[in-house]
Protein backbone atom coordinates (compact mmCIF):
# COMPACT_ATOMS: atom_id res chain seq x y z
CA UNK A 1 0.00 0.00 0.00
CA UNK A 2 1.26 3.43 -0.81
CA UNK A 3 0.27 4.96 2.45
CA UNK A 4 0.86 8.62 1.67
CA UNK A 5 -1.57 8.90 -1.28
CA UNK A 6 -4.13 6.88 0.65
CA UNK A 7 -3.92 9.19 3.63
CA UNK A 8 -4.07 12.25 1.41
CA UNK A 9 -7.15 10.92 -0.34
CA UNK A 10 -8.80 10.07 2.95
CA UNK A 11 -8.07 13.53 4.30
CA UNK A 12 -9.39 15.14 1.13
CA UNK A 13 -12.54 13.06 1.31
CA UNK A 14 -13.11 13.98 4.94
CA UNK A 15 -12.60 17.65 4.26
CA UNK A 16 -14.56 17.91 1.05
CA UNK A 17 -17.49 15.69 1.87
CA UNK A 18 -17.82 16.00 5.60
CA UNK A 19 -21.59 16.25 5.67
CA UNK A 20 -22.63 14.89 2.33
CA UNK A 21 -25.81 13.10 3.34
CA UNK A 22 -26.38 11.23 0.09
CA UNK A 23 -23.02 9.59 0.38
CA UNK A 24 -23.33 6.24 -1.38
CA UNK A 25 -20.47 4.02 -2.45
CA UNK A 26 -18.97 5.02 -5.80
CA UNK A 27 -19.29 2.28 -8.40
CA UNK A 28 -16.29 0.25 -9.44
CA UNK A 29 -13.89 2.12 -11.68
CA UNK A 30 -14.25 1.09 -15.35
CA UNK A 31 -10.48 1.24 -15.66
CA UNK A 32 -10.06 -1.40 -12.95
CA UNK A 33 -12.82 -3.49 -14.47
CA UNK A 34 -11.18 -3.73 -17.88
CA UNK A 35 -7.85 -4.45 -16.22
CA UNK A 36 -9.47 -7.30 -14.33
CA UNK A 37 -8.62 -5.67 -11.03
CA UNK A 38 -11.98 -5.05 -9.42
CA UNK A 39 -12.69 -7.06 -6.28
CA UNK A 40 -15.86 -8.09 -8.10
CA UNK A 41 -16.30 -9.45 -11.60
CA UNK A 42 -19.91 -8.31 -11.41
CA UNK A 43 -19.84 -4.55 -10.98
CA UNK A 44 -22.50 -2.29 -9.58
CA UNK A 45 -24.32 -0.18 -12.17
CA UNK A 46 -25.13 2.81 -10.00
CA UNK A 47 -24.68 6.46 -10.94
CA UNK A 48 -21.12 7.72 -10.70
CA UNK A 49 -19.77 10.33 -8.36
CA UNK A 50 -18.69 13.58 -9.94
CA UNK A 51 -15.18 12.80 -8.78
CA UNK A 52 -14.03 9.49 -7.39
CA UNK A 53 -10.77 7.74 -6.82
CA UNK A 54 -9.79 4.24 -5.85
CA UNK A 55 -6.68 2.65 -4.46
CA UNK A 56 -6.26 -1.05 -4.94
CA UNK A 57 -4.02 -3.68 -3.43
CA UNK A 58 -4.06 -7.43 -3.66
CA UNK A 59 -3.50 -10.65 -5.51
CA UNK A 60 -5.05 -10.87 -8.94
CA UNK A 61 -6.59 -13.87 -10.70
CA UNK A 62 -3.12 -14.91 -11.93
CA UNK A 63 -1.82 -15.01 -8.38
CA UNK A 64 0.36 -11.91 -8.73
CA UNK A 65 0.44 -9.03 -6.28
CA UNK A 66 -0.86 -5.80 -7.79
CA UNK A 67 -1.25 -2.23 -6.69
CA UNK A 68 -3.34 0.28 -8.55
CA UNK A 69 -4.91 3.70 -8.65
CA UNK A 70 -7.88 4.98 -10.60
CA UNK A 71 -9.66 8.29 -10.88
CA UNK A 72 -13.16 8.78 -12.30
CA UNK A 73 -14.89 11.99 -13.28
CA UNK A 74 -18.14 13.04 -14.90
CA UNK A 75 -16.91 15.36 -17.67
CA UNK A 76 -20.29 16.76 -18.72
CA UNK A 77 -20.98 18.10 -15.22
CA UNK A 78 -17.40 19.29 -14.92
CA UNK A 79 -17.65 21.26 -18.16
CA UNK A 80 -21.29 22.35 -18.13
CA UNK A 81 -21.34 22.75 -14.37
CA UNK A 82 -23.89 25.25 -13.22
CA UNK A 83 -25.63 25.33 -16.62
CA UNK A 84 -27.36 22.02 -15.87
CA UNK A 85 -30.52 22.66 -13.88
CA UNK A 86 -32.43 20.17 -11.80
CA UNK A 87 -35.40 20.55 -14.15
CA UNK A 88 -33.43 19.75 -17.29
CA UNK A 89 -31.78 16.85 -15.48
CA UNK A 90 -35.07 15.31 -14.41
CA UNK A 91 -36.98 16.04 -17.62
CA UNK A 92 -34.44 15.20 -20.33
CA UNK A 93 -33.04 11.71 -20.67
CA UNK A 94 -30.12 12.94 -22.77
CA UNK A 95 -29.08 15.35 -20.01
CA UNK A 96 -29.14 12.55 -17.46
CA UNK A 97 -27.24 10.26 -19.79
CA UNK A 98 -24.54 12.87 -20.34
CA UNK A 99 -24.41 13.96 -16.71
CA UNK A 100 -24.01 10.39 -15.50
CA UNK A 101 -21.39 9.40 -18.06
CA UNK A 102 -18.09 8.93 -16.34
CA UNK A 103 -14.57 8.94 -17.66
CA UNK A 104 -12.03 6.82 -15.89
CA UNK A 105 -8.28 6.55 -15.90
CA UNK A 106 -6.55 3.80 -14.00
CA UNK A 107 -3.23 2.09 -13.69
CA UNK A 108 -2.00 -1.03 -11.97
CA UNK A 109 1.48 -2.31 -11.40
CA UNK A 110 2.66 -5.83 -10.72
CA UNK A 111 4.78 -6.07 -7.61
CA UNK A 112 6.31 -9.51 -8.01
CA UNK A 113 9.25 -10.84 -10.02
CA UNK A 114 6.86 -12.81 -12.23
CA UNK A 115 4.83 -9.74 -13.13
CA UNK A 116 6.44 -6.31 -13.11
CA UNK A 117 4.09 -4.99 -15.73
CA UNK A 118 2.36 -1.64 -15.66
CA UNK A 119 -1.15 -1.57 -17.05
CA UNK A 120 -3.11 1.48 -18.03
CA UNK A 121 -6.74 1.85 -19.03
CA UNK A 122 -9.16 4.65 -19.72
CA UNK A 123 -12.82 3.82 -19.52
CA UNK A 124 -16.11 5.41 -20.48
CA UNK A 125 -19.21 4.38 -18.58
CA UNK A 126 -22.81 5.37 -19.29
CA UNK A 127 -25.65 4.88 -16.85
CA UNK A 128 -28.67 4.02 -18.99
CA UNK A 129 -31.02 4.21 -16.04
CA UNK A 130 -30.72 4.40 -12.27
CA UNK A 131 -33.79 4.39 -10.07
CA UNK A 132 -31.54 5.21 -7.12
CA UNK A 133 -30.25 8.50 -8.46
CA UNK A 134 -30.91 11.02 -5.65
CA UNK A 135 -31.35 13.78 -8.23
CA UNK A 136 -34.43 11.93 -9.46
CA UNK A 137 -35.80 11.10 -6.02
CA UNK A 138 -39.25 12.75 -5.89
CA UNK A 139 -39.68 11.72 -2.24
CA UNK A 140 -36.47 13.49 -1.31
CA UNK A 141 -37.62 16.60 -3.12
CA UNK A 142 -41.00 16.56 -1.37
CA UNK A 143 -39.37 15.98 2.02
CA UNK A 144 -37.06 18.96 1.56
CA UNK A 145 -39.90 21.14 0.34
CA UNK A 146 -41.99 20.28 3.39
CA UNK A 147 -39.08 21.12 5.71
CA UNK A 148 -38.43 24.35 3.82
CA UNK A 149 -42.09 25.42 3.93
CA UNK A 150 -42.22 25.09 7.72
CA UNK A 151 -39.06 27.17 7.96
CA UNK A 152 -39.99 29.83 5.44
CA UNK A 153 -43.46 30.44 6.87
CA UNK A 154 -42.19 31.35 10.32
CA UNK A 155 -38.75 32.83 9.69
CA UNK A 156 -38.32 36.61 9.76
CA UNK A 157 -35.52 37.91 7.50
CA UNK A 158 -32.47 39.09 9.37
CA UNK A 159 -32.57 42.54 7.81
CA UNK A 160 -36.08 42.99 9.21
CA UNK A 161 -34.91 41.88 12.63
CA UNK A 162 -32.03 44.35 12.36
CA UNK A 163 -34.41 47.09 11.33
CA UNK A 164 -36.78 46.33 14.20
CA UNK A 165 -33.85 46.20 16.61
CA UNK A 166 -32.64 49.61 15.46
CA UNK A 167 -36.05 51.18 15.74
CA UNK A 168 -36.69 49.61 19.14
CA UNK A 169 -33.30 50.67 20.49
CA UNK A 170 -34.12 54.25 19.53
CA UNK A 171 -37.41 54.03 21.41
CA UNK A 172 -35.78 52.43 24.42
CA UNK A 173 -33.33 55.30 24.63
CA UNK A 174 -36.22 57.73 25.02
CA UNK A 175 -36.58 57.33 28.75
CA UNK A 176 -37.71 60.87 29.45
CA UNK A 177 -41.23 62.12 29.11
CA UNK A 178 -41.93 63.91 25.83
CA UNK A 179 -43.34 67.42 25.75
CA UNK A 180 -47.05 67.38 26.41
CA UNK A 181 -47.10 63.66 27.24
CA UNK A 182 -49.31 62.76 30.17
CA UNK A 183 -48.32 60.25 32.85
CA UNK A 184 -50.69 57.69 31.37
CA UNK A 185 -49.35 58.21 27.86
CA UNK A 186 -45.78 57.95 29.11
CA UNK A 187 -46.49 54.71 30.95
CA UNK A 188 -48.38 53.34 27.98
CA UNK A 189 -45.47 54.17 25.65
CA UNK A 190 -42.94 52.57 27.96
CA UNK A 191 -45.14 49.53 28.32
CA UNK A 192 -45.49 49.16 24.55
CA UNK A 193 -41.73 49.41 24.16
CA UNK A 194 -41.27 46.63 26.69
CA UNK A 195 -43.89 44.48 24.96
CA UNK A 196 -42.23 45.07 21.58
CA UNK A 197 -38.88 44.11 23.06
CA UNK A 198 -40.38 40.89 24.36
CA UNK A 199 -41.92 40.16 20.95
CA UNK A 200 -38.66 40.86 19.16
CA UNK A 201 -36.71 38.53 21.45
CA UNK A 202 -39.35 35.88 20.81
CA UNK A 203 -38.91 36.32 17.06
CA UNK A 204 -35.17 35.97 17.35
CA UNK A 205 -35.53 32.82 19.43
CA UNK A 206 -38.06 31.42 16.98
CA UNK A 207 -35.72 32.16 14.06
CA UNK A 208 -32.97 30.17 15.76
CA UNK A 209 -35.34 27.30 16.49
CA UNK A 210 -36.61 27.23 12.90
CA UNK A 211 -33.09 27.20 11.47
CA UNK A 212 -32.07 24.35 13.77
CA UNK A 213 -35.18 22.37 12.94
CA UNK A 214 -34.67 22.92 9.21
CA UNK A 215 -31.15 21.51 9.48
CA UNK A 216 -32.36 18.45 11.35
CA UNK A 217 -35.29 17.88 9.00
CA UNK A 218 -33.11 18.22 5.94
CA UNK A 219 -30.54 15.79 7.31
CA UNK A 220 -33.29 13.27 7.98
CA UNK A 221 -34.60 13.70 4.42
CA UNK A 222 -31.13 12.89 3.09
CA UNK A 223 -30.64 9.91 5.40
CA UNK A 224 -34.00 8.47 4.37
CA UNK A 225 -33.03 9.00 0.73
CA UNK A 226 -29.82 7.02 1.20
CA UNK A 227 -31.81 4.12 2.65
CA UNK A 228 -34.18 4.19 -0.32
CA UNK A 229 -31.58 4.57 -3.03
CA UNK A 230 -28.50 2.55 -2.21
CA UNK A 231 -29.67 -0.60 -3.96
CA UNK A 232 -32.23 0.44 -6.58
CA UNK A 233 -32.46 -1.01 -10.08
CA UNK A 234 -30.03 0.36 -12.63
CA UNK A 235 -28.09 -0.44 -15.77
CA UNK A 236 -24.79 0.69 -17.27
CA UNK A 237 -22.78 0.04 -20.40
CA UNK A 238 -19.09 0.68 -20.52
CA UNK A 239 -16.02 0.33 -22.69
CA UNK A 240 -12.34 0.84 -22.13
CA UNK A 241 -9.13 0.55 -24.12
CA UNK A 242 -6.03 -0.65 -22.30
CA UNK A 243 -2.25 -0.43 -22.57
CA UNK A 244 0.52 -2.44 -21.03
CA UNK A 245 4.22 -2.22 -20.43
CA UNK A 246 5.42 -5.75 -19.68
CA UNK A 247 8.66 -4.41 -18.24
CA UNK A 248 7.04 -1.66 -16.24
CA UNK A 249 8.99 0.96 -18.23
CA UNK A 250 7.01 3.81 -19.78
CA UNK A 251 8.94 3.46 -23.04
CA UNK A 252 7.59 -0.07 -23.49
CA UNK A 253 3.93 0.93 -23.13
CA UNK A 254 1.83 -0.47 -25.96
CA UNK A 255 -1.81 -0.99 -26.80
CA UNK A 256 -3.36 -3.94 -25.06
CA UNK A 257 -6.81 -4.32 -26.58
CA UNK A 258 -9.90 -3.29 -24.73
CA UNK A 259 -13.13 -4.38 -23.21
CA UNK A 260 -16.84 -3.69 -23.30
CA UNK A 261 -19.44 -4.70 -20.79
CA UNK A 262 -22.88 -4.15 -19.40
CA UNK A 263 -24.13 -4.49 -15.86
CA UNK A 264 -27.73 -4.63 -14.71
CA UNK A 265 -29.06 -4.48 -11.16
CA UNK A 266 -32.52 -5.30 -9.92
CA UNK A 267 -33.32 -3.77 -6.54
CA UNK A 268 -36.70 -5.39 -5.83
CA UNK A 269 -38.17 -1.91 -6.16
CA UNK A 270 -41.73 -3.15 -5.70
CA UNK A 271 -41.05 -5.88 -3.15
CA UNK A 272 -41.30 -4.26 0.29
CA UNK A 273 -39.58 -7.14 2.11
CA UNK A 274 -36.42 -6.88 -0.01
CA UNK A 275 -36.26 -3.42 -1.54
CA UNK A 276 -34.26 -1.81 1.27
CA UNK A 277 -31.78 -4.63 1.72
CA UNK A 278 -31.23 -6.69 -1.40
CA UNK A 279 -30.06 -6.31 -4.95
CA UNK A 280 -29.28 -8.88 -7.61
CA UNK A 281 -26.84 -8.10 -10.39
CA UNK A 282 -25.88 -9.51 -13.77
CA UNK A 283 -22.88 -8.69 -15.91
CA UNK A 284 -21.53 -9.62 -19.31
CA UNK A 285 -18.04 -8.54 -20.38
CA UNK A 286 -15.81 -9.14 -23.37
CA UNK A 287 -12.12 -8.34 -23.19
CA UNK A 288 -9.92 -8.62 -26.26
CA UNK A 289 -6.14 -8.93 -26.61
CA UNK A 290 -5.52 -8.96 -22.89
CA UNK A 291 -1.91 -9.52 -21.90
CA UNK A 292 -1.65 -11.49 -18.68
CA UNK A 293 1.12 -13.20 -16.79
CA UNK A 294 1.47 -16.81 -17.97
CA UNK A 295 0.74 -18.97 -14.94
CA UNK A 296 2.66 -21.86 -16.49
CA UNK A 297 5.82 -19.91 -17.37
CA UNK A 298 7.15 -17.55 -14.74
CA UNK A 299 8.04 -14.12 -16.12
CA UNK A 300 6.29 -14.79 -19.44
CA UNK A 301 3.09 -13.23 -20.73
CA UNK A 302 0.38 -14.48 -22.99
CA UNK A 303 -2.29 -12.65 -24.95
CA UNK A 304 -5.85 -13.82 -24.56
CA UNK A 305 -9.45 -12.89 -25.24
CA UNK A 306 -11.70 -13.18 -22.23
CA UNK A 307 -15.49 -13.35 -21.92
CA UNK A 308 -17.20 -13.11 -18.56
CA UNK A 309 -20.80 -13.72 -17.67
CA UNK A 310 -22.05 -13.78 -14.14
CA UNK A 311 -24.41 -12.69 -11.48
CA UNK A 312 -24.49 -11.96 -7.81
CA UNK A 313 -26.53 -10.84 -4.88
CA UNK A 314 -25.79 -7.90 -2.62
CA UNK A 315 -27.35 -7.68 0.83
CA UNK A 316 -26.98 -5.03 3.47
CA UNK A 317 -27.64 -1.46 4.42
CA UNK A 318 -26.36 1.79 2.95
CA UNK A 319 -23.20 1.73 5.09
CA UNK A 320 -22.35 -1.96 4.93
CA UNK A 321 -23.03 -4.58 2.31
CA UNK A 322 -21.86 -8.09 1.58
CA UNK A 323 -21.80 -9.44 -1.94
CA UNK A 324 -21.60 -12.94 -3.37
CA UNK A 325 -21.01 -13.57 -7.03
CA UNK A 326 -20.60 -16.48 -9.36
CA UNK A 327 -19.10 -16.05 -12.82
CA UNK A 328 -18.08 -18.16 -15.77
CA UNK A 329 -14.94 -16.92 -17.52
CA UNK A 330 -13.99 -18.13 -20.96
CA UNK A 331 -10.37 -17.49 -21.95
CA UNK A 332 -8.81 -18.10 -25.33
CA UNK A 333 -5.09 -17.45 -25.46
CA UNK A 334 -3.22 -17.26 -28.75
CA UNK A 335 -1.92 -20.68 -29.72
CA UNK A 336 -3.73 -22.43 -26.87
CA UNK A 337 -6.97 -24.31 -26.48
CA UNK A 338 -9.83 -22.31 -24.99
CA UNK A 339 -10.18 -22.60 -21.24
CA UNK A 340 -13.16 -21.98 -19.04
CA UNK A 341 -13.28 -21.44 -15.31
CA UNK A 342 -15.89 -20.79 -12.71
CA UNK A 343 -15.17 -18.18 -10.10
CA UNK A 344 -16.94 -17.53 -6.88
CA UNK A 345 -16.15 -14.54 -4.75
CA UNK A 346 -17.32 -12.93 -1.57
CA UNK A 347 -16.77 -9.31 -0.82
CA UNK A 348 -17.78 -6.78 1.76
CA UNK A 349 -18.02 -3.05 1.41
CA UNK A 350 -18.09 -0.71 4.40
CA UNK A 351 -18.37 3.03 4.69
CA UNK A 352 -15.48 4.16 6.86
CA UNK A 353 -16.52 7.76 7.00
CA UNK A 354 -18.28 10.24 4.74
CA UNK A 355 -17.03 9.73 1.21
CA UNK A 356 -14.58 6.95 2.04
CA UNK A 357 -15.29 3.27 1.47
CA UNK A 358 -13.34 0.06 1.91
CA UNK A 359 -14.05 -2.92 -0.29
CA UNK A 360 -12.49 -6.29 0.45
CA UNK A 361 -12.99 -9.25 -1.85
CA UNK A 362 -11.77 -12.83 -1.78
CA UNK A 363 -12.45 -15.42 -4.43
CA UNK A 364 -11.38 -18.65 -5.95
CA UNK A 365 -11.67 -20.34 -9.31
CA UNK A 366 -12.17 -23.87 -10.45
CA UNK A 367 -12.05 -25.71 -13.74
CA UNK A 368 -8.73 -24.61 -15.25
CA UNK A 369 -7.64 -27.32 -17.66
CA UNK A 370 -4.10 -27.24 -16.26
CA UNK A 371 -5.36 -27.44 -12.71
CA UNK A 372 -3.66 -24.14 -11.79
CA UNK A 373 -6.67 -22.68 -10.04
CA UNK A 374 -5.97 -19.53 -8.09
CA UNK A 375 -7.15 -17.80 -4.97
CA UNK A 376 -7.35 -14.04 -5.28
CA UNK A 377 -7.71 -11.31 -2.68
CA UNK A 378 -8.21 -7.64 -3.48
CA UNK A 379 -8.75 -4.63 -1.27
CA UNK A 380 -10.01 -1.42 -2.71
CA UNK A 381 -10.23 1.98 -1.01
CA UNK A 382 -12.73 4.19 -2.79
CA UNK A 383 -13.68 7.73 -2.17
CA UNK A 384 -16.12 9.89 -4.01
CA UNK A 385 -17.30 13.42 -3.73
CA UNK A 386 -19.50 15.79 -5.58
CA UNK A 387 -17.92 18.64 -7.44
CA UNK A 388 -16.59 21.74 -5.81
CA UNK A 389 -18.25 24.15 -8.17
CA UNK A 390 -15.82 26.92 -8.54
CA UNK A 391 -17.86 29.04 -10.90
CA UNK A 392 -20.03 31.58 -9.22
CA UNK A 393 -23.77 31.71 -9.41
CA UNK A 394 -25.86 34.65 -10.48
CA UNK A 395 -25.94 36.27 -7.09
CA UNK A 396 -22.20 36.73 -6.89
Amino acid sequence: MRAAPALLLAAAALQANAQSPTDLAPPESPAFTVLGMSPQNVTRPSSPKALAAALLNGMDQSGNFQTGFAIDTTPYLMIRGVKVSLASYSEHYLTRLLARASLSLGTTRGATSTDKSTRLASGLRATLFDLGDPLGDAQLESCIEAAATAYETGFVPQSRIDSMEKELAARESETARKDGESDAQFVERQLKTMMDRRDLEKRKAKNAQLATKLGADRTKCMADSRKRNFNRSSMVIAGAPAWISATGQNADMKWNGGGAWTSIAYGFDNVPALRNTTQILFEGLYRSRETVADPANSGQFLVQNRAVIGGGVRVGKPNFQVFWEGTYIHRHAAGAVPDGTFETAMSAEARITDGLWLNLGIGTESGRSNGANKLFILTNFKWGLSPDRTSKGPGN
Binding site: S20, Y151, F155, S159, S163, K166, R389
Partner: protein
Amino acid sequence: MKTGMNDIYLAPDKEKPTLTINMEGLPLITYLFKLVDGNETVLWTHSGKNKKGTNQQFPLDTTLTVPQLDQLILELVGTVTSLDGSEKPYSVAVTITQDGKDQRMPIDNMPDTKNGVANYDSAVRLCVP
Protein backbone atom coordinates in the same frame (compact mmCIF):
# COMPACT_ATOMS: atom_id res chain seq x y z
CA MET B 1 -38.90 56.38 8.10
CA LYS B 2 -35.43 55.03 7.47
CA THR B 3 -35.55 51.31 8.11
CA GLY B 4 -32.00 50.26 7.35
CA MET B 5 -33.34 47.94 4.70
CA ASN B 6 -32.67 48.38 1.00
CA ASP B 7 -35.27 50.27 -1.01
CA ILE B 8 -36.98 49.12 -4.20
CA TYR B 9 -38.85 51.81 -6.11
CA LEU B 10 -42.21 50.99 -7.66
CA ALA B 11 -44.83 53.16 -9.25
CA PRO B 12 -48.46 52.30 -8.51
CA ASP B 13 -49.72 53.66 -11.82
CA LYS B 14 -47.40 51.48 -13.91
CA GLU B 15 -47.62 47.80 -14.86
CA LYS B 16 -47.54 45.15 -12.17
CA PRO B 17 -44.00 44.38 -11.10
CA THR B 18 -42.55 41.00 -11.98
CA LEU B 19 -40.31 39.03 -9.68
CA THR B 20 -37.60 36.94 -11.31
CA ILE B 21 -35.53 34.35 -9.48
CA ASN B 22 -32.24 33.25 -10.98
CA MET B 23 -30.42 30.18 -9.87
CA GLU B 24 -27.81 28.07 -11.56
CA GLY B 25 -26.91 24.44 -11.22
CA LEU B 26 -28.55 21.32 -9.88
CA PRO B 27 -29.72 22.31 -6.40
CA LEU B 28 -33.34 22.64 -5.47
CA ILE B 29 -34.23 26.09 -4.27
CA THR B 30 -37.40 26.93 -2.41
CA TYR B 31 -38.72 30.38 -1.64
CA LEU B 32 -41.50 32.25 0.06
CA PHE B 33 -42.18 35.89 -0.79
CA LYS B 34 -44.33 37.80 1.65
CA LEU B 35 -45.65 41.35 1.31
CA VAL B 36 -46.43 42.87 4.68
CA ASP B 37 -47.61 46.28 5.74
CA GLY B 38 -46.63 48.34 8.76
CA ASN B 39 -49.02 46.42 10.99
CA GLU B 40 -47.45 43.10 10.00
CA THR B 41 -50.55 42.23 8.01
CA VAL B 42 -49.70 39.87 5.20
CA LEU B 43 -51.10 41.24 1.92
CA TRP B 44 -49.67 38.75 -0.54
CA THR B 45 -47.55 35.62 -0.56
CA HIS B 46 -45.99 33.50 -3.25
CA SER B 47 -44.15 30.29 -2.50
CA GLY B 48 -42.62 27.64 -4.68
CA LYS B 49 -39.51 25.91 -5.86
CA ASN B 50 -37.18 26.67 -8.67
CA LYS B 51 -35.75 23.75 -10.57
CA LYS B 52 -35.47 25.46 -13.90
CA GLY B 53 -32.52 27.56 -12.94
CA THR B 54 -32.74 30.93 -14.61
CA ASN B 55 -35.66 33.21 -15.25
CA GLN B 56 -38.42 31.82 -13.12
CA GLN B 57 -40.88 34.69 -13.19
CA PHE B 58 -44.18 35.63 -11.58
CA PRO B 59 -46.05 38.91 -11.01
CA LEU B 60 -46.15 40.65 -7.69
CA ASP B 61 -49.85 40.12 -7.89
CA THR B 62 -51.32 42.84 -5.73
CA THR B 63 -52.68 46.28 -6.26
CA LEU B 64 -50.30 48.87 -4.92
CA THR B 65 -51.33 52.33 -3.88
CA VAL B 66 -49.23 55.33 -2.94
CA PRO B 67 -50.09 55.20 0.80
CA GLN B 68 -49.37 51.48 0.84
CA LEU B 69 -46.01 51.97 -0.80
CA ASP B 70 -44.94 54.14 2.10
CA GLN B 71 -44.97 51.17 4.43
CA LEU B 72 -44.81 47.95 2.42
CA ILE B 73 -42.02 45.49 2.99
CA LEU B 74 -41.27 42.58 0.69
CA GLU B 75 -39.76 39.65 2.56
CA LEU B 76 -38.05 36.64 1.07
CA VAL B 77 -37.08 33.47 2.92
CA GLY B 78 -35.76 30.42 1.14
CA THR B 79 -33.49 27.42 1.05
CA VAL B 80 -30.94 25.91 -1.29
CA THR B 81 -30.40 22.16 -1.17
CA SER B 82 -28.24 20.06 -3.39
CA LEU B 83 -29.97 16.69 -3.61
CA ASP B 84 -26.75 14.83 -4.36
CA GLY B 85 -24.65 16.58 -1.72
CA SER B 86 -22.83 18.75 -4.21
CA GLU B 87 -20.42 21.31 -2.88
CA LYS B 88 -20.37 25.09 -2.90
CA PRO B 89 -20.95 27.70 -4.14
CA TYR B 90 -24.53 28.22 -5.14
CA SER B 91 -26.47 31.43 -4.90
CA VAL B 92 -29.83 32.96 -5.65
CA ALA B 93 -30.54 36.28 -7.31
CA VAL B 94 -33.85 38.13 -7.41
CA THR B 95 -34.79 41.04 -9.60
CA ILE B 96 -37.96 43.11 -9.62
CA THR B 97 -38.97 44.45 -13.01
CA GLN B 98 -41.44 47.18 -13.77
CA ASP B 99 -41.82 48.79 -17.18
CA GLY B 100 -38.68 47.06 -18.37
CA LYS B 101 -36.54 48.44 -15.59
CA ASP B 102 -34.75 45.89 -13.40
CA GLN B 103 -34.00 46.41 -9.74
CA ARG B 104 -31.99 43.85 -7.87
CA MET B 105 -33.31 42.59 -4.57
CA PRO B 106 -30.19 42.04 -2.50
CA ILE B 107 -29.92 38.73 -0.68
CA ASP B 108 -28.81 39.95 2.73
CA ASN B 109 -28.20 36.58 4.27
CA MET B 110 -26.71 34.18 1.73
CA PRO B 111 -24.29 32.04 3.66
CA ASP B 112 -21.69 29.86 2.06
CA THR B 113 -23.51 26.90 0.54
CA LYS B 114 -20.80 24.48 1.52
CA ASN B 115 -22.05 20.91 1.53
CA GLY B 116 -24.85 21.92 -0.76
CA VAL B 117 -27.27 23.36 1.76
CA ALA B 118 -27.99 26.97 2.66
CA ASN B 119 -30.75 29.20 3.89
CA TYR B 120 -31.13 32.69 2.59
CA ASP B 121 -33.38 35.62 3.38
CA SER B 122 -33.91 39.23 2.47
CA ALA B 123 -36.25 42.11 3.05
CA VAL B 124 -36.68 45.32 1.07
CA ARG B 125 -38.82 48.36 1.56
CA LEU B 126 -41.06 49.26 -1.37
CA CYS B 127 -41.11 53.00 -2.10
CA VAL B 128 -42.54 55.45 -4.58
CA PRO B 129 -39.88 56.89 -6.92
